[in-house]
Amino acid sequence: MARLSTEGLRTQVGGPFSFSVERGECLALSGPSGCGKTLLLRALADLDPAEGTVLLDGENRNAMTAPQWRMKVGWLPAESAWWSEMVGDHFRGQRSDIRGQQLPSIGKDETLATRSAVPQRSCLERLGFGEDVMSWRIERLSTGEKQRLALFRLLLNEPQVLLLDEPTAALDVSNVWKTEEVISEYRKLTGAAVLWVSHNPEQIARVADRHLMFKNGGLEAVE
């Protein structure tokens, strides 16, 4: 059974979209700006009203509350948003995960420690942050730092599907690689499906198993 599948999903500018993504699969989405990539991700995250059905592991999203759905199908917007003064304020209620600073746990009692043969390095550290980042002020962060922290914030929810809207757009080369690595490791360890919007053909070739391109309001497979 597909991790995420959608049937007849319509956004304001396109559709109907019907496709599915398997467990642990990474699907790249590309297309010119304004073609509705972001709207498609928003519709999948149930942030815009949209016709059509969306299933997670075969379960209809309307069978759960919208906040529950969004915890499982996590959307990372292209521009990260921050509402409080300190970085740590945005991670409240997730304190225990932060203390461990591991990649989020996988199943109920499996964590990175039990599943991974890779030497233990915290997710934060791999994204280029020290332990003290939680006490930083938001205004001190660069756009790229915000983007990486927003990814970390999303991963702490342990989503089963990641909807990533140009997650490395504001990053320099070395951070692009680090981020790609963290995402692909998360995907492999947790079986999460990833939808990755990217403009960069080389990045798509590096990270994606499959590539769909927006054409005439629909999606076409790219070989």
Binding site: A45, P49, P67, G74, A81, W82
Partner: protein, 265 residues
């Protein structure tokens, strides 16, 4: 009502001279306000004269039906006023509906409470008490409510990215706008709290001044004023909470999606 010096039309025309002088000054200084000053002054004369006659008739025939009608007209006018002050109104009558409902809570219920429980005139809807009291509560609670709703809708618009990020992280609609909601309620309540703190020192409230002019003992006038201040503050608080609650819920749908399309741009 003894002892008050009657004002003749001639007396009022002296006061009008000051308005004319102001309009003349505006003309000379090219402030462009003279027309508005004169029209507004004329509206004051006409509207207040009319309401004077209406109240005279109402006082002469104390009938529940007529008083209710009067109260209803005042309430709807206040609801309209609250809505028209919004920069971004809710579409399709929702703004007016929420404005009127909150004004009902802030002014209507509080007035009935004051009449029935505190003052206790005979009958309880005696227009000499009911109409001025309702008018004062409507006029004074309107500000807080319209300020707070305006703050809410403007901030929900400008903080759209933040709200949607919080929703995307699995927060409920209430969690996602908790900060904005709190700030909006504070915006509505702070002016009236300040007014309570400044009463008697910085400002002599209008109702008290009026009673003193009418020949009442200052100590009695003060008691009424204290009651009014408490009523206005409580009314503003309840009305603001209701207005913010209703407006913020209207801006989300049943799947906790932010629906700014329900606002006029």
């Amino acid at each position: 009502m003894n002892g008050i010096i009657q004002l003749s039309p001639l007396d009022l025309s002296f006061a009008a001279l000051l308005i004319l002088a102001l309009a003349g000054l505006s003309f000379r200084l090219r402030l462009g306000l003279e027309k508005r000053i004169l029209i507004s002054a004329a509206r004051t004369v006409i509207q207040l004269t009319l309401i004077g006659f209406v109240l005279k008739a109402l006082f002469a025939h104390v009938q529940f039906g007529w008083i209710s009608l009067m109260a209803l007209v005042m309430l709807l006018a206040a609801g309209y006023e609250v809505t028209s002050r919004q920069k971004h109104k809710l579409r399709g009558g929702w703004g007016f509906g929420i404005g009127t409902t909150s004004m009902f809570i802030s002014a209507f219920t509080v007035t009935v409470f004051a009449l029935a429980v505190i003052i206790g005139p005979e009958p309880w809807y005696a227009p000499r008490y009911a109409v001025p009291l309702l008018g004062m509560l409507l006029g004074n609670t309107m500000n807080g409510i319209s300020l707070s709703v305006n703050h809410l809708t403007q901030n929900m618009r400008s903080q759209r990215a933040i709200i949607e990020t919080r929703l995307a992280l699995g927060q409920t609609k209430s969690e996602a706008i908790a900060d904005i909601r709190r700030e909006s309620i504070r915006t509505g309540l702070i002016p009236i709290i300040n007014a309570m703190a400044a009463a008697g020192i910085v400002s002599l409230p209008g109702m008290m001044t009026g009673q003193i002019l009418a020949g009442n003992l200052p100590v009695d006038a003060v008691k009424y004023q204290i009651m009014i201040m408490f009523m206005v503050s409580a009314g503003t608080g309840f009305g603001t909470l209701a207005a913010i609650w209703m407006t913020s819920h209207r801006l989300f749908d049943d799947r906790d999606r932010l629906r700014l399309d329900r606002l006029n741009i």
